[in-house]
């Protein structure tokens, strides 16, 4: 009976290749792999082609899905190759690490609650776990600056694997002797691994192969005491855990996605694994293809030169083969004319590689996950890690369904897609109309956890979203409720809409805060306006919207008095939002009432000056007051009787938004000018910042035009508009000639307008 321990690096094509060679010559009758025993039952899925790496074993607590651990496997991971070896040679394979049932039982408060990616025995992570950096010392002793480079040269790209594992064992043994004992968790894990080995021995296996992180190798090799291990392992708390396979991605295997464990260039390693003989040529050809696809020159002759340069560089640096750094340098020098930008492309698409694994349907998963996958297939929306824009045309059935799916996920707080609202506004105003929705999609592998977590709300996305919305609605205030209602409408949750409407009605009836009413209004208006596009019943919403708006109208005059500046600014923002939303509605009665209210607020002296100014502005735009009236209001607001700060606030309200509309209000400018001139030096200094702020929102040309306007007005003694006395008289006969053309364009009758 023999036990052979293979210390490996978790993701390394060289380790994997050496391991396969060693296993082939050893022909073990059982293989024990460092990993969670909960995954044993899932190993059979690795047989056949269904499970395509990169994939990860996910172990989570069903009661707390956020407490989870991932065990990623790439095709070049030694563990993966060991599993495949076992399956193809009918050798039993087991995971031998301390069960996650124990590891995940630890107090969640004590650790970061974010899911931990398992980093067991990862050499790159050593520095974190033991005092100092013994492996760094090893690398330094070898005269290398870069750990990755050292490992790649010494282990990964070694042509002859014989003696490799013995050497690793010896090096690690020396390091462990230096580093001293690990922490409690490490000891438990190693004890459990030893116990698993003894168990296999007892079961009568003859040739036992153990595959574990290099760091653990010495601890598992040689005789061990069952008693001392049992002492470490007794009295451990356990929880129920579930395990499943989930797709993983190269992006997540790479270092820069923020995990300590991982490899810098998974794409490069996969390439090395696939075709080690022609690694150099294959890599440069693939890079050239990529560059060509992106429209960059990469002629065949240059490919040859790049290969030669790569080989020469390796020779100059006394390396047997060009490594990734040599190849990158030669590609940059020969194919990219020294520029760095195309290298980013190669880095992203080749070195890391935009690869995502697949998991067969036979792997068990929670119902919500299944439903999501069904929907993804049906709607041809694939989960990809690269960011992708999606332009949905809501008039098409497929796109509408896609939108519904994304909105449902959004309601469930599963952020796969982000609605590009700003871009949609610009796009709408340019050409597209309201039938388009712009999304940005980016899948993260952790989203699976959220999906599992939301399973408690229902077994299909629709059910879960409905239940979740209703749960959220219980605690929501009025604006939140209407947000949810809007969300439910666009997500086509007809079941939730009715109950939400009831809630809205009930809340609105007792709402005392006008600000809530105002904030609740825009989402509701959206529901009414766009509900039809999506085929939702919108008509039942309209009466509620109208009632809500009426309430807001009644409350507003009271809500606009005795405000401080900050509250006034808030009210103005809410009012302008509500005013814009009102435009969406086809309700002339409401429009009329809104106009009247604005006019009234503009004239009511008890109202905060900021609100007053803004109302005047809106009234002017809606033509409910004329210039004479505006000039009168301006004189009142800016009169010396009031305080200078009130005047400035009024001005600020008035000038919100574009300045062009005000440019032709001569009376206003005269009033403004005389107000400014009347200010004494001290008040002027105090008011200046306020006035400046009021004007700061305008474009430079607008500001200049305003300044010129004031200068001109002061020059003309009468103070009257220059248009009235300076305009050229209209030649009616000549003007009439244009009318037929205009009528043709506008589709009216020229004679009727005469």
């Amino acid at each position: 009976m023999t036990v052979t321990v293979f210390g490996i690096r978790h993701h390394g094509p060289g380790s994997a290749r050496s391991l396969v060679a060693a296993l082939t010559s050893l022909m073990p009758d059982i293989i024990l792999i460092e990993g969670p025993p909960e995954g044993d039952a899932l190993l059979r899925h690795a047989e056949g082609g269904g499970l395509q790496p990169p994939v990860a074993l996910l172990v989570y607590r069903p009661d707390m899905p956020r407490r989870a651990a991932f065990f990623p496997f790439a095709v070049f991971s030694p563990e993966w190759q060991a599993i495949r070896f076992g399956l193809t040679h009918s050798v039993p394979v087991r995971f031998c690490d301390l069960p996650q049932a124990v590891q995940l039982a630890a107090d969640p408060e004590a650790e970061d609650t974010a899911p931990v990616e398992e980093t067991t025995g990862e050499l790159g992570n050593l520095a974190d776990r033991i005092r100092g950096d013994p492996i760094g010392a090893l690398v330094e002793a070898a005269g290398y600056e870069d750990f990755e480079l050292w490992w790649e040269e010494q282990v990964e790209r070694r042509a002859d694997p014989r003696g490799l594992f013995e050497a690793i064992m010896e090096a690690m043994r020396a390091l462990r002797a230096e580093a001293g004992v690990g922490d409690e968790r490490e000891e438990r894990r190693e004890a459990h691994m030893r116990r698993s080995i003894r168990k296999a021995e007892k079961e009568g296996f003859e040739r036992i192969a153990v595959v574990c992180g290099a760091w653990h190798a010495p601890a598992l090799d040689g005789p061990s005491s069952a008693k001392s291990d049992a002492a470490v392992l007794t009295g451990l708390k356990r929880v129920r855990v579930d395990a499943t396979w989930i797709p993983w991605s190269n992006f997540r295997l790479a270092y820069r996605s923020g995990y300590g464990a991982g490899i810098v260039s998974p794409g490069w390693y996969a390439h090395l694994w696939g075709d080690p003989e022609n690694a150099t040529v294959g890599w440069i050809v693939r890079s050239a293809h990529l560059l060509r696809r992106e429209g960059l020159d990469a002629p065949a002759s240059s490919v040859i030169d790049a290969v030669r340069l790569g080989d020469t560089l390796a020779a100059l640096r006394d390396r047997p083969n060009p490594g990734l750094s040599e190849l990158s340098e030669s590609i940059r020098t020969v194919l990219c004319a020294g520029h760095g930008a195309p290298m980013q492309l190669i880095r992203r698409q080749l070195e890391v590689g935009e690869v995502m694994g697949t998991v067969p349907e036979t792997v068990s998963r929670v119902p919500l996950q299944l439903d999501l996958e069904r929907e993804q297939r049906r709607l041809r929306l694939h989960a990809e890690e690269s960011r992708r824009r999606l332009d949905l045309d809501l008039r098409r059935d497929l796109d509408r369904d896609r939108s519904v799916l994304l909105h449902r996920l959004r309601l469930l707080n599963i952020p796969w897609g982000a609605l590009q609202e700003k871009e949609m506004l610009t796009a709408r105003s340019i050409r597209r109309g309201t039938f388009h929705e712009l999304w940005q999609l980016q899948w993260h592998v952790e989203l699976v956890l959220l999906v599992i977590e939301r399973t408690i709300w229902g077994n299909t996305l629709g059910d879960a979203a409905e239940a979740f919305v209703e749960h959220e609605a219980e605690a929501a205030e009025l604006p939140g409720l209407t947000e949810l209602l809007h969300g439910a409408t666009v997500a086509n949750l007809s079941g939730a809409i009715a109950s939400l409407l009831q809630r809205v009605q009930a809340k609105a009836a007792v709402a005392t805060d006008v600000r809530h009413l105002l904030a609740a209004f825009p989402p509701l208006a959206q529901v009414v306006r766009y509900g039809d596009v999506r085929g939702t019943e919108a008509q039942q919403v309209l009466p509620i919207v109208e009632a809500l708006f009426e309430r807001a109208l009644i409350g507003l005059p009271g809500a606009c008095t005795s405000l401080d500046d900050a509250a006034a600014a808030e009210i103005v923002t809410l009012m302008s939002g509500a005013g814009d939303a009102l435009l969406l509605l086809d309700a002339s009665e409401l429009h009329g009432e809104w106009r009247v209210l604005l006019l009234r607020l503009g004239q009511l002296q008890s109202v905060h000056p900021l609100v007053r100014g803004w109302c005047c502005r809106r009234a002017l735009e809606q033509r409910s007051i004329d210039t004479g009236e505006l000039a009168r209001l301006a004189r009142i607001a800016l009169s010396p009787a009031g305080s200078a700060s009130d005047a400035a606030a009024w001005l600020q309200g008035l000038l919100r938004g574009s300045g062009l509309a005000l440019l032709h209000q001569d009376g206003l400018w005269v009033a403004l000018d005389s107000w400014l001139q009347r200010l004494d030096a001290e008040t002027f200094t105090a008011t200046l910042p306020l006035v400046r702020r009021a004007f700061s929102g305008f474009q430079a040309p607008e500001r200049r035009a305003m300044g010129e306007k004031v200068a001109r007005l002061r020059n003309s003694e009468t103070g009257q508009s220059e248009r009235e006395d300076g305009g050229t008289p209209i030649d009616r006969e000549r003007a009439r000639l244009v009318l037929p053309v205009l009528a043709h364009i506008l589709g009216g009758d020229a004679d009727a307008n005469r």
């Binding site: 020159d297 002629p299 002759s301 240059s302 030169d305 030669r308 340069l309 020469t312 560089l313 020779a315 100059l316 640096r317 750094s325 340098e329 030669s330 020098t333 020969v334 990219c336 004319a337 020294g338 520029h339």
Partner: protein
């Protein structure tokens, strides 16, 4: 041979690299036992040691010629070893010509086959010209042919250097295409051609600040391997470069001044880097950048002129006042914009800095 060189060198304003570092090259040749590409004086490994410095087995110290990213030099050497033409590109003052000259000196033992690219450089500088007296007397003949440096390099299998490639007009640049791809130079008038010997290659330099001067055609770009030389990464690197070059130049100019204190060099380099990067070294204060490049080479010339000032008008020790004039002139290239930038920098950064009061006073007096 070294003595012979020294005697030649005595009266020369600036010795060529292979003359200045003749001893190093000779030692390297002696120690070099690795394989050399055809007609190379040294093996690629020895060339690398020559450029980056090192200690030979005999204990002989080779001084570093290029301080910075060693990998870039390795790429450059490998490029030439694979028989590809090398284009060194970068902003002014990053040592393109310096590297090119030393490469030619180490590989061919001769850095003199050089063409300076200007708007007025015509084809004869790249191909060949004629001795018109002979041409008129006896028609086209081998004797009447005046070979260009490139042609001579082809005939002898050496490296030709082309400085400021992008300043040459497109036609002249394109004359290089045949030479680089076919390694041959046809002489139509004599119905013959000059075939390049093994070892022939071209090192060109191009200034990447010179936008759209004469952009290289894609056909020509493809025939070059491009290595972009960056500005020094760290202040230590830059201080070391400046110190070495100032010391070398000071010897050449035989200035009676003391070598400037490292502290002064560090201050000048700090000012250059801060203005160039638009932020102070501690990363705390943003500063505006002037219009000039403020390359390392300019820092060297500032220190050098300070050295001269100190030697002839001062007490022989470089002080802030000696450096101020050169510094002000280098920073202020545009009399309006750069003056504002410089003043702001003096007021907000230099004035506040401990121990920089002398600098602040001296620079303020210059304005």
């Amino acid at each position: 041979m070294i003595e012979e060189h020294s005697s030649v060198l005595a009266g020369v304003a600036r010795a060529r690299s292979e003359q200045q570092f003749a001893e190093e090259l000779a030692e390297l040749r002696m120690a070099d036992d690795r394989q050399r590409p055809p007609r190379w004086d040294l093996s690629p490994w020895a060339v690398r040691t020559y450029l980056l410095g090192g200690t030979l087995p005999s204990g002989f110290e080779v001084s570093p010629k290029y301080i910075g990213n060693a990998r870039l030099m390795e790429i450059a050497i490998s490029t030439l070893a694979t028989d590809r033409a090398l284009l060194l590109s970068g902003v002014p003052g990053t040592g393109k010509s310096w590297v090119s000259e030393h490469l030619a000196a180490a590989i061919s033992g001769d850095s003199s086959l050089m063409v300076q690219g200007t708007a007025g450089t015509d084809e004869t500088a790249v191909r060949y010209g004629w001795n018109y007296a002979l041409l008129l007397q006896s028609g086209p003949s081998e004797q009447a042919l005046v070979p260009s440096p490139v042609m001579r390099a082809m005939q002898t299998g050496r490296l030709a250097r082309i400085e400021e490639l992008t300043r040459m007009t497109g036609e002249v640049q394109d004359a290089l295409i045949t030479i680089l791809s076919e390694k041959t130079l046809p002489v139509f008038e004599l119905n013959t051609e000059v075939q390049a010997h093994k070892g022939f290659n071209v090192i060109a330099t191009a200034n990447s600040r010179d936008r759209a001067v004469n952009e290289l055609s894609s056909a020509l770009t493809r025939r070059f391997n491009t290595v972009v030389l960056p500005l020094p990464d760290t202040i230590e690197e830059e201080v070391e470069i400046v110190e070495r070059r100032v010391a070398a130049l000071g010897r050449a100019l035989e200035l009676p001044a003391e070598k400037p204190a490292l502290e002064e060099i560090r201050r000048v380099v700090t000012i250059f880097r801060e203005l160039r990067e638009g932020v102070t070294q501690d990363g705390q204060t943003k500063v505006k950048s002037p219009t000039g490049t403020l390359a390392t080479a300019e820092a060297i010339s500032v220190i050098n002129s300070g050295l001269a000032m100190a030697a002839y008008y001062g007490d022989g020790t470089v002080r802030a006042a000696d450096l101020a004039a050169g510094l002000t002139g280098t920073v202020i290239r545009d009399p309006v914009q750069d003056r504002v930038v410089w003043l702001e920098y003096l007021q907000t950064v230099v004035k506040e800095r401990d121990g920089w009061a002398d600098f602040y006073r001296a620079c303020n007096e210059m304005l």
